[in-house]
Amino acid sequence: MNSGGVGKRLTIAPYTLWMSVFVVVPIALVIYYAFTDGHGRLTLENMKSIADYGKTFFMSIKLALFSTAICLLAAYPVAYGISRFEARRQQTTIMLVMLPMWMNFLIRTYAWMTILEGNGLINRLVRAFGGEGFSIINTNGAVVLGMVYNFLPYMILPIYTVLTKIDKSTIEAAQDLGANKASIFRRVLLPMSVPGIISGITMVFVPAVSTFVISKLLGGGKTFLIGDIIENYFLGNTGSVDYNIGAALSLVLMALILISTTVMNHFDKDMGEGGGGIVG
């Protein structure tokens, strides 16, 4: 649809104003705080102190990468399976994927504690069958599980969307040309679903790398992630509020994500046709 004119300019005005005030200005403020001290003087001290948190950054990235990989492996077959359903069932199933999100994620994470604890449901089940109980809660493993659980739908949805867009005749053509299942997957399906995979990876990695609630609840406060530190600096849970260092940390986190999405998007352009939307 293309029909420019004054009318169009007007329809976008509220949006332009809104995004400038509530997205652009706040980011500018974060940059301002990151490069000033408590008295508003320019300084690089905040950025320098980031080095102290190298280990925490590394830990956050490691756990987020783990959960993204697990999500991808778990989600692809599901997304593929759903995309092969008949249209009506597809709709219902996708709704079922989104439905848990209507329960706030905090509540669902509490429920996971009940399941995972030493005397939790899993262990009681294991013991009922004569097995030895084991401990998952309060470990990095539990944090990864919480991330996978919370962000899995974000991986399923975009992959599913691109898979439905693939013309069935393309696959049929490959079959006619004698391709077996493995090579159809490798040479046809996978390359064509790259845009969805890329969106999925971004949508899982970003919230995973920055979470502070999951690590607190399932990690027993022993897994300290970058999100926890940012939260502490802005809400002063450790006793002192420091917007400046908090802003510097946020800025680095933002840059990190910007770089990785740019890299991913390049990858996207090289492999697929691009244009796979982030949402369905």
Partner: protein
């Protein structure tokens, strides 16, 4: 079909907005009360509105620090808040609290004398105590050996025998308080090397700790997930109700004696109504309700006499003075110590 869904949603929206508008309308004052989560008996706010016609916006916070950051940023305004001792003295120092007019709070007379004019508000001009208590160490009496508790010491939290079954405060002030007391220092010390020694203690303890938690302590102790945990004495009965094996003691090195008190912020535009609210909370029937709900000790003497004697005779919840000889109240730490505490705590947690 979709249009119908959309129009149905629109109707809902209109209804909600009307409801919201009618809620906010009228000239009567609206009081913003900011309290700890689940720190009031159900129905009390409704009753206050019914009796006085004053509407209350009741919101909740999870820590003194969260409360402080919301207020000090200047962006949110509240009338009545319920900070703990050290936060009250910090707010007094920073000129954030209004002097109360006790003529408007006649029920202040029911507050026991030993809860008035404490260190954090030495002339008692700014606060009316709401609850008080002390930290204790909870343990499961069937799983923790008698010899290990005979000492009644903080050392139990560092006992390697119970590695992986010990819980610890997920808040630096309480955690450092225990470590400092363990070393025989004051919880309010301003000696930096003492703070660093305490940090080393906490680091040494970390491998033994199952989790750093606050509210989850209940569930983990009740279910037997953990065997040892420091927490607030007032929670004993809640835990015992679901797990009678839980006992507690006041550590001999000295516990933290705390008070949560109601204050009015200087920025409040409804000071008289705020004082009315505080007075209401001190009324005997209301204080009884709250004490029964919360379980923490009440400083309201008349309410205390009406409570179940099995509660008020409990030595951990209402300890006699001789049990508290070594106890200390947190006072506000100077800014450089607060910063040190914050960075030491981050260090402990992130490694």
């Amino acid at each position: 079909m979709k249009k119908k869904v959309l129009s149905a949603l629109l109707c809902v929206l209109v209804l909600l907005t009307v409801a919201a508008a009618s809620g906010c309308g009228g000239k009567s004052a609206v009081l913003n009360v900011y309290n700890w989560g689940v720190y009031i008996a159900p129905g009390v706010i409704k009753q206050f509105k019914k009796e006085t016609g004053i509407k209350v916006n009741y919101t909740t916070y999870d820590s003194n620090e969260a409360l402080y950051s919301k207020i000090s940023s200047g962006a949110a305004s509240y009338d009545v808040i319920v900070p703990s001792d050290y936060m009250i003295s910090r707010m007094i120092e920073e000129d954030m609290l209004a002097e109360l007019n006790f003529d408007n709070i006649p029920n202040f007379q029911y507050i026991g004398d030993s809860y008035k004019s404490l260190e954090y508000d030495s002339e008692n001009k700014y606060s009316v105590p709401y609850t008080w208590g002390n930290t204790v160490i909870f343990y499961d009496k069937t799983k923790v050996d008698a010899e290990d508790i005979a000492e009644q010491s903080i050392d139990l939290l560092w006992n390697k025998k119970y590695s992986g079954q010990i819980l610890m405060f997920d808040n630096p002030r309480d955690a450092f308080g225990l470590a400092l007391k363990k070393l025989g220092y004051s919880m309010n010390t301003t000696n930096k090397s003492e703070w660093e020694a305490a940090a080393a203690e906490l680091k040494a303890q970390k491998p033994l700790v199952q989790a750093y938690v606050m509210d989850q302590i209940y569930d983990k102790m009740i279910s037997g997930e953990a065997l040892i945990a420091p927490y607030y004495a007032g929670d004993l009965l809640v835990m015992q109700a679901d797990n009678p094996n839980i006992e507690c003691y006041i550590p001999k090195e000295g516990a933290n004696l705390f008070a949560d008190a109601m204050c009015v912020l200087k920025t409040s535009t409804h000071k008289a109504e705020a004082e009315m609210f505080i007075n209401f909370m001190c009324r005997t029937d209301i204080a009884v309700k709250n004490a029964e709900e919360i379980g923490y000790a009440t400083p309201q003497m008349e309410a205390r006499s009406l409570l179940d004697p099995s509660i008020t005779s409990n030595r951990s919840i209402y300890p006699p003075d001789e049990d508290l000889v070594n106890a200390e109240i947190f006072i506000n730490l100077p800014p450089d110590i607060t910063r040190l505490q914050s960075s030491l705590w981050t260090d402990i947690k992130k490694d």
